[in-house]
């Protein structure tokens, strides 16, 4: 195994999002991973683009934004180190519904969604493991959206 492959597998398994991942799953998942970094202001992706990846954030901060008519871009969530950006790669039609912009210099592991979907399809144990880790991210986003809609703090 080359040093680079070994390193990325370690990074993936040590990222809190994949905490406690069994070694064979770590190998399979890491096969879809590569290093990525973004300068402040650089976009990871744009609304409407096809969602072919997700990102394990290792350092920095990413703002998730929606453009609202007359209001410019509104940030509705920031994602920081040890967290993950992107669940759309899991769910058809695999399309981003918001923009993601690096607020600071950001280092991440970019995961190829199509690659990982294929492996999950072929090995449902892996698929269940991945689902269990993404489901809380989805639920937390849903709960946060409920609170934001309620506008609990008022004017």
């Amino acid at each position: 195994m080359s040093a680079a492959v070994k390193e990325i597998e370690e990074i993936v398994r040590e990222h809190p999002f994949f905490e406690g991942l069994l070694e064979p799953f770590g190998k399979l998942i890491s096969g879809c991973a590569k290093n990525a970094h973004f300068q402040p202001g650089e976009y990871l992706f744009h609304e409407g683009d096809s969602a072919d990846q997700f990102y394990l954030i290792r350092q920095g901060c990413v703002a998730l934004e929606i453009k609202a008519p007359g209001r410019g871009a509104i940030t509705f969530q920031t994602v920081r180190e040890d967290e993950v950006v992107g669940v759309e790669w899991l769910i058809p039609p695999y399309r981003w519904s918001y923009d993601a912009r690096a607020v600071e210099f950001t280092r991440a592991i970019a995961m190829d969604g199509a690659c990982l979907r294929g492996k999950c399809e072929a090995d449902h144990d892996l698929g269940y493991e991945v689902m269990k880790r993404f489901m809380p991210v989805l639920i937390q986003r849903l709960q946060a959206a409920q609170m934001q809609i309620l506008d609990v703090y008022g004017e």
């Binding site: 934004e65 940030t75 509705f76 920081r80 937390q140 709960q143 609990v152 703090y153």
Partner: protein, 254 residues
């Protein structure tokens, strides 16, 4: 949102404990319970922060410098400062809820050596709605207190901090949950979610305190106006231990 500083015209005011409230009267309009939000080390300066939402609060917020108003108090059971001694203190504030917690923060910082880690997690609607922003920035520069602010949403141009609900800040904070006292104040729904997140993080319900709001009239436990299940907010609270009111909070109609 308005912050009033009130100079007593009668006898010197009774020193209030962090978390207590006064009944303020806008003459000819009515009376409302308003928390003290100043520094308890300066009992001569009565500071109140008011959101103008109805007749009384609007009349209070519109008072000009030099105008007179009525005041009685302080009332109620405040934050458990004695119990917090020697422990980590996690403060979770939402919106105007920062006002009653500000007195506790001042007390913690004045007596800093008495406590373990001190964390202040504050959620506001948007960057423009952040209360006491300059003071938060001053506190942030201190090395002995962690201040984290998040907003529900922000225009891209005016904010570089956290965006998301206040409970997300808890996951990133470092403290010893088994040896922590948590003080929570904000809209009731925010307090419910915060108390649940604190419990998930390992903070005991017996060590989590919430400040409740109900409309008040007498403020001395006589009229029953502020009844919340079996308790009166004015007499038994407004600060309650979470385990004592958790079941009540789940009832929508109370």
């Amino acid at each position: 949102m308005w912050t009033l500083e009130i100079e007593p015209s009668g006898p010197a005011p009774v020193a209030a404990a962090p978390g207590q409230f006064n009944m303020l009267t806008a003459f000819g309009v009515g009376e409302a319970a308003i928390s003290l939000s100043g520094d308890p080390a300066e009992p001569g300066r009565l500071v109140h922060t008011i959101r103008a939402v109805g007749p009384v609060s609007r009349a209070l917020a519109q008072l000009r410098p030099g105008a007179a108003l009525g005041l009685r108090g302080p009332f109620g059971a405040g934050w458990p400062m004695a119990e917090a001694a020697g422990r980590d203190v996690v403060i979770m504030a939402g919106g105007l809820g920062l006002a009653p917690l500000r007195t506790a923060i001042h007390r913690l910082l004045t007596e800093r050596a008495r406590y373990g880690q001190v964390l202040v997690l504050y959620g506001a609607r948007s960057p423009a709605d952040i209360l006491f922003r300059r003071e938060l920035e001053t506190w942030r520069r201190r090395l002995d207190v962690e201040i984290e602010v998040t907003v529900d949403h922000a225009a891209v141009s005016d904010w570089r901090g956290h965006v998301g609900v206040v409970t997300t800040l808890l996951g990133r904070a470092s403290f010893d949950p088994a040896n922590t006292v948590a003080l929570v104040c904000g809209p009731e729904i925010m307090m419910r979610f915060s108390a649940a997140a604190l419990a998930d993080a390992g903070v005991r319900a017996e060590a989590t305190y919430l400040s409740m709001e109900r409309n008040m009239k007498c403020a001395i436990g006589l009229c029953g106006h502020c009844q919340f299940g079996p308790v009166f907010i004015c007499r038994d609270g407004p600060v309650f231990r979470y385990d004592r009111i958790a079941a009540l909070l789940r009832h929508k109609e109370l």
